[in-house]
């Protein structure tokens, strides 16, 4: 099957190159080659999945990411458990997006855009085929059993988080190709801004969902205890997201404010470049990250080459830009001005994140020593920006009505009752948050926008509450050796051993008591013999808005086990908010347009 997969991959690449070289101006042939290449790619992907399902350990990739005892659903997910398979999925998604968006569209720019999409796919395909083929075979025969999937990745979320995130990353290729086509045709055809907006909204929807799932996974299952670490890998996904959100707001003002048009074009090009940059940062191992799952410097330089080519292509075609609109910019209403400011703000945040992420890279390459940027850099700089964002949101409607005052007072009193001991900064932010929330709930805007805005406010509220009020304990407990302090008591009730497919599990039962109530938590430790590796499965219980979160560590001797216990208020608001943003974006971009 490995051969079949490789052949299908090669054929799809030949078709793509052929289409790129010979059918530059034949829209029907170009669309046909794109579809055919997509079918061949699907075949190739299916062959690799089949290889995982039947334990084809002759394939190097299957051997390094699967095991005969691994359950079938993780064997499918193992497809994107490593570098080569991830890129196969990437490439397949490029074809999928391109075929779905361009090959059925009759817009004049679509043919040219499809040509660019095929060109990018062919570049990435060459990289996949020559430098990171997932179909490499052991000669003469592979080992009897695989090395197993990284235990960290053996989680139900592994099945959906990476593909969804990749859909978002790859989706940025569509705006890029579209704008490249627009420049290529020397702006003779009008840009379909509505279509661009719809695509960008869709892409941001997938990215939001992907980032949310990843963050939730890291928080809930991996036992790292946080939801965001400002780690380079996380920043790599945040940067395209920020750009996408800025672009959506900028597109809102595009018709009225001509000066924004150039920036829309630049940002549409930059989205995919940021995606590839992110993948370069993650995959090349140039940055120290807590979750680098695949690093290979040799591949890094090839990715850098693709990145440079994309940049050169963008800049080269951008040189052709002429300011065609002679009309002076119109008068901006307050709403448009706010949308424009929001876009500027998001772009600023993007630069802050970009600087913090790339700074270590610059330092190292200049030989000034190896450094990493602490998370306080991000939080300190972004704090005032977030305040500004809230102010922008509450200016969307400044009328003061009876119902608003009632809502505001209700919000404040709930806050005061629940969480009184807050610092001054937090208090100011809380007032801003409640005010912005009241404004968003009562202002006249489409439901989808309301949904997304309420979502982001909820996230900010959650982050703030968590930052101010979270408590953590790192302690040791044993059976009949409880941990007691004035504000918390922890008993280890029971340890239960069991065996599953490819792992041994110890399930702990903890009784946690604070002032008013007691909770039973069941964190687990899993041992994967195939990798001689231990994994912690944390346990979370929700008590109102507070998460009580426990993760077990090593045995430290004398019958004691190390344990990390958190009280985390507000985290649930973050997940709720992220879901609301995703729902809002989905609603806006996938509704049936009249």
């Amino acid at each position: 099957m490995g051969h079949l997969g490789e052949i299908a991959l090669i054929v799809s690449q030949i078709i793509s190159w052929y289409g790129v070289v010979w059918f530059k101006n034949r829209s029907d042939f170009l669309a046909f080659s794109a579809r055919l290449a997509f079918v061949m790619m699907s075949l190739s992907l299916a062959a690799l999945i089949y290889g995982f399902l039947i334990h084809d350990f002759d394939l190097v990739y299957v051997t390094s990411h699967s095991h005969s005892l691994l359950p079938w659903y993780y064997r499918i997910a193992a497809l994107w458990g490593g570098h080569e398979g991830s890129y196969l999925l990437w490439l397949w998604l490029i074809y999928l997006w391109a075929v779905l968006t361009f090959s059925f569209s009759d817009h004049t720019l679509s043919t040219r855009a499809l040509w660019y999409a095929l060109l990018i796919a062919a570049l990435m395909g060459a990289y996949l085929l020559f430098l990171s083929s997932p179909f490499t075979l052991f000669v003469p025969a592979g080992p009897d059993d695989g090395m197993d999937l990284n235990p960290l990745l053996q989680d139900p979320l592994m099945m959906i988080h990476p593909p969804i995130l990749y859909i978002g990353y790859v989706g940025f290729m569509i705006p890029m190709c579209y704008v490249l086509a627009y420049f290529h045709e020397r702006q003779s055809v009008d840009l379909d801004l509505l279509m661009l907006k719809q695509v960008v909204t869709r892409v941001v929807f997938w990215l939001t969902l992907g980032i949310f799932l990843g963050s939730w996974w890291a928080y809930r299952e991996l036992g790292w205890g946080g939801f965001w670490f400002w780690d380079p890998v996380e920043n790599a996904s945040l940067m395209p997201w920020l750009l996408g959100v800025a672009l959506i707001h900028l597109l809102r003002v595009a018709n009225e404010f001509k000066a924004a048009k150039f920036w829309i074009l630049v940002m549409a090009l930059a989205g995919f470049i940021l995606s590839v940059l992110g993948s370069f940062l993650v995959r090349s191992g140039v940055l120290i990250s807590v979750h680098t799952f695949a690093a290979d410097p040799g591949r890094g330089s090839a990715l850098l080459l693709i990145l440079m080519l994309l940049c050169l292509l963008s800049i080269g075609l951008m040189m052709r830009y002429k300011d065609t609109d002679q009309k002076p910019g119109g008068f901006l209403s307050r709403r448009l001005l706010l949308a424009y400011s929001a876009a500027l703000m998001m772009t600023f945040v993007l630069f802050v994140v970009l600087l913090g992420t790339l700074y270590p890279l610059v330092m190292t390459s200049m030989g000034w020593g190896e450094v990493s940027v602490g998370s306080r850099y991000f939080s300190e700089i972004l704090m005032p920006v977030i305040g500004l964002g809230l102010i922008l949101m509450l200016f969307m409607d400044t009328k003061i009505s009876f119902s608003r005052i009632i809502l505001f007072l209700a919000g404040v009193s709930v806050l005061v009752l629940l969480y009184w001991p807050l610092g001054l900064n937090a208090l100011i932010f809380m007032f801003l948050i409640i005010w912005a929330m009241v404004c968003q709930l009562t202002v006249k805007i489409p439901g989808s926008i309301r949904c997304a805005h309420v979502g982001i406010i909820l996230i900010l509220a959650g982050v703030l509450m968590h930052g101010e009020l979270a408590r953590s304990y790192e302690i040791a407990v044993g059976i009949n050796q409880p941990y007691e302090q004035s504000d918390v008591k922890v008993h280890l009730v029971d340890i239960e051993q069991s065996h599953f497919d490819n792992l041994d599990q110890a399930a702990f039962t903890l009784m946690v008591q604070d002032h008013h109530s007691a909770f039973l938590l069941k964190p687990k430790r899993r041992y994967y013999a195939s990798r001689d590796q231990v994994m912690n499965k944390s346990a979370v219980i929700h008590d109102g808005l507070t998460d009580i979160y426990a993760v077990m560590g090593e045995s430290v001797g004398d019958g004691l086990w190390s344990l990390r216990l958190y009280f985390k208020p507000g985290v649930i608001l973050i997940w709720l908010g992220a879901m609301l943003i995703a729902i809002g974006l989905c609603w806006r971009s996938y509704r049936v347009s009249a």
Partner: protein, 134 residues
């Protein structure tokens, strides 16, 4: 220079000034918040401001881990680099699952009295599961 040009010049200068000030402020915060990545040998030959955060990488020396206060997970252990220089690490908390004696670790914290008071331990993992230094 016409009135319009004059106005435009003022706006551009103002925007530029704001941009420069913002960037300078960002760089100041950034320079305060970076962690230097060093080896125990490099640590030995430098002096540090108390607030300077560093990341030190090395192998955890076998049998060097001692608990100072077991109930609160307060511990001391040594790490060693390729030159054989030792550095004592003080840490309070849960160790990462990949943390083992004889394996690689990155400790982040501040230097005090020749010891590193680590706030965080990183045991890196990649898809092939080799902790660093092996």
């Amino acid at each position: 220079m016409s009135r319009v040009h004059y106005k435009r010049l003022i706006i551009i200068l103002l925007a530029g000034a704001v941009a420069v000030v913002t960037l300078a402020m960002m760089m100041v915060v950034l320079s305060q918040e970076i962690n230097l990545y060093l080896t125990p040998t490099e640590i030995k030959h430098r002096t540090f401001a108390k607030s300077q955060r560093v990341r030190v990488g090395g192998l955890v020396v076998e049998h060097s881990l001692v608990y100072v206060d077991k109930k609160n997970l307060e511990m001391l252990f040594d790490i060693v680099d390729q030159q054989g220089t030792l550095l004592k690490i003080h840490y309070q908390g849960l160790t990462p699952t990949l943390f083992k004696e004889g394996k690689g670790v990155i400790a982040e914290g501040q230097m005090q009295d020749g010891q590193l008071y680590a706030k965080m331990l990183l045991a890196k993992h990649d898809e092939n599961y080799k902790p660093p230094g092996t």
